[in-house]
């Protein structure tokens, strides 16, 4: 898989995400637009009051997948730089769990790339969220990442 340009920043952190540092990282004199996405902890989920969340990750693979998303975004959109950070561990209401910043010469690409990055992250990066309520905890519903075609199986079955 492609590796992201060294100008990109990909982080998993166990403390608060420093959003300003990520924005600073992507800002260059060549850019006319920076779009950011800040995913934050809501105080409720499906109508139940949330107390806090706990995120865990398959860290080495999550970092690799986040880097692949950054690389893919560069091939799909005329952008400049990408920064992606995801936080792990316990998060309180209002805290930022994921932050993505994309810089580009023009705004359309920055918006589209940032949206693509978070949509893809939610579908394909091995991170899991457990939601704690007053009466218990549940693993959040999620999405099954797409897996390569099962060509081996077809071959051995023929």
């Amino acid at each position: 898989m492609a590796t992201p340009p060294s100008s990109d920043l990909i982080l998993l952190v166990h403390q608060g995400i420093d959003a300003d540092a990520l924005v600073h990282h992507v800002r260059t004199g060549a850019d006319g637009a920076i779009v950011t996405f800040d995913g934050c902890v809501r105080n409720q989920s499906h109508g139940r009051r949330t107390l806090y969340l706990d995120y865990e990750a398959y860290e080495s693979m999550a970092l690799a997948k986040m880097g692949e998303i950054a690389a893919e975004v560069h091939t799909k959109f005329p952008i400049d730089r990408v920064a992606i950070a995801h936080r792990l561990g316990r998060l309180e209401i209002g805290e930022t769990s994921v932050f993505i910043a994309v810089s580009a010469p023009h705004r359309a690409a920055a918006f589209e790339a940032c949206r693509y990055a978070i949509d893809t992250l939610k579908r394909s990066v091995p991170i899991w969220k457990k939601e704690y309520f007053e009466d218990g905890a549940v693993w959040a519903d999620g999405e099954l990442p797409p897996v390569p075609q099962d060509t081996q199986a077809r071959k051995s079955a023929s």
Binding site: L144, V147, P148
Partner: protein, 93 residues
């Protein structure tokens, strides 16, 4: 625990297995090392776990596997030293 060719003379292979999220809780472990017969596939590895813990079988249709940090089909053959993970639906972001 593999259903493939007998491993009488061939050396076995050894892989590292990781469980995450609800699957980690169901498996009762986050990490394990497993010895299998050469030629085993990811599906054989998982079958070995369900033989030991039948309650894992119900996760089979709602998880994906990875081999060395890449998503991998169930039919993927294993090599010694592989890191295999069983991943429930992801919910980051």
């Amino acid at each position: 625990m593999s259903s493939v060719a007998p491993s009488s003379v061939k050396p076995s292979i050894r892989v590292k297995v990781l469980f995450f999220g609800r699957l980690k809780e169901a498996a009762g472990a986050a990490e394990e090392f497993v010895e299998l017969a050469p030629g085993s596939r990811i599906e054989d590895l998982f079958a070995g776990f369900t033989a030991r813990r039948p309650e894992l079988a119900r996760y089979r249709s709602s998880l994906v596997a990875s081999r060395n940090q890449e998503f991998a089909a169930w039919s993927t053959p294993l090599d010694s030293g592989d890191e295999i993970a069983f991943l429930p639906p992801v919910s980051g972001g």
